[in-house]
Symmetry: C2
Subunit: 210 residues, 2 copies
DNA sequence: GCTATAGTGTAACCATTGTTACCGTACACC
DNA sequence: GGTGTACGGTAACAATGGTTACACTATAGC
């Protein structure tokens, strides 16, 4: 595990902290589609992403979903951080977007490291910063963009995260994440195909012109 | 200033920290409608709210606005925190919702106090936590609610923040903050009046049934 | 009092998105 | 190969919200 740590967090943390993480952290692999956390769950450990990607979703009382953002390697979940401290329940759902490796750190260490390591404090603050900005991005999209623009942005983001210009999703799945209906997505995708931006196939979409 | 500090932050911070804040902080009063910070501004000090309220707004490239949330006494601006550290520009606009008193703390102290005072660290984390949750609330509203529900929520929130069931705003102003048009707001307000929930007057609205 | 202006009410119309319904096709499973 | 199911295309319609246009009224400034 120490190698993964050094590769992904070596530029952030000093040797001593890396060693501490190595001692108390547990390595975890999750496969695509697996749920890491759900709304209402209590949080007992903090994830440090080593590889892969995790999507963070919000859900309302009627069960309607909405994709908030993705976590990638080098990221951690800011929601978790605050939940740890306040002992509150999770407000979001986390699902592996693809096969993902992460290191789980027990929450008790949070406080201790915040005192001891400046790099840890900076990492935590930076994390909050990134997450807040991603939330702003999300708000911008929902508030200011029309559905076709949101869809295009979504497709590009998906392609970027999966590092692949082929998106393996059904129209229904896309509709869930953008909180709209399958028919609307099919309609807009067809329009994008006619514009030459994508190619539609059963169960996957090829991004041609990003 | 020390009295205001003790009244509003005495339960959070220890004596020593209160004294430090008192020494390096500067007292500031802003009147309703005054702009505290704009998008693109660099941030040099961190505000601790003593009384009043500040509204936080987001704007897109076309100049369309959207209300994100309110800051009230005991709050600080999490955006500021991250901007301080990263030396990045503000992503949001802050305008006094009513006459407001605050204490400005120079950003250099942030790092120092984070090492020295556990209560400061907790305050900062708590702050992030609250702001993230407020952003989630905002996302919920935009994504899952219809305009009439959003309007009702907005009116209630305004009434709560101003501690007054009379809201002194024109329909146009409300439209800006909800990112819609004046006509839509007038239409929906009239509907709410017909339902007996509010009373419409020139330049103000009375909330009857919250 | 007269006038200009800001604020509000309302109708008519349009654009976008959501809903329902139905069809054809690919694919897995038998 | 036959069948059931999931996936996607599309039409028709409804609902919501945005736009334009215009009328009326309260108020401020003269």
């Amino acid at each position: 595990m120490i190698q993964e740590l050094k590769d992904n967090y070596g530029h952030l943390f000093e040797e001593a902290l890396l060693n501490e993480i190595n001692q108390v952290g547990t390595f975890k692999e999750v496969s695509e589609g697996q749920k890491l956390m759900d709304i209402g769950d209590y949080v007992r450990a903090m994830p440090l992403l080593v590889s892969g990607a995790i999507k963070i979703l919000r859900e309302d009382n009627d069960g309607d979903e909405l994709l908030l953002y993705f976590l990638e390697k080098g990221d951690t979940c800011a929601m978790t951080l605050t939940c740890c401290i306040g002992q509150t329940k999770s407000e979001i759902r986390a699902i592996a977007e693809k096969d993902t490796k992460l290191i789980m750190v027990p929450i008790q260490k949070m406080e201790e490291w915040s005192t001891k390591y400046k790099s840890w404090r900076n990492f935590v603050f930076e994390s909050y910063h990134n997450r807040l900005n991603e939330m702003l991005e999300t708000i911008d999209s929902i508030a200011f963009l029309k559905m076709d623009e949101r869809l295009l942005k979504y497709l590009n983001e998906k392609a970027r995260v999966s590092d692949n210009n082929i998106i393996h999703n059904t129209h229904q799945e896309i509709a869930y994440e953008l909180h709209t209906s399958r028919v609307v997505i099919s309609r807009l995708l067809k329009k994008l195909e006619n514009l030459g931006k994508i190619e539609l196939h059963r169960n996957h979409i090829v991004i041609k012109d990003i």
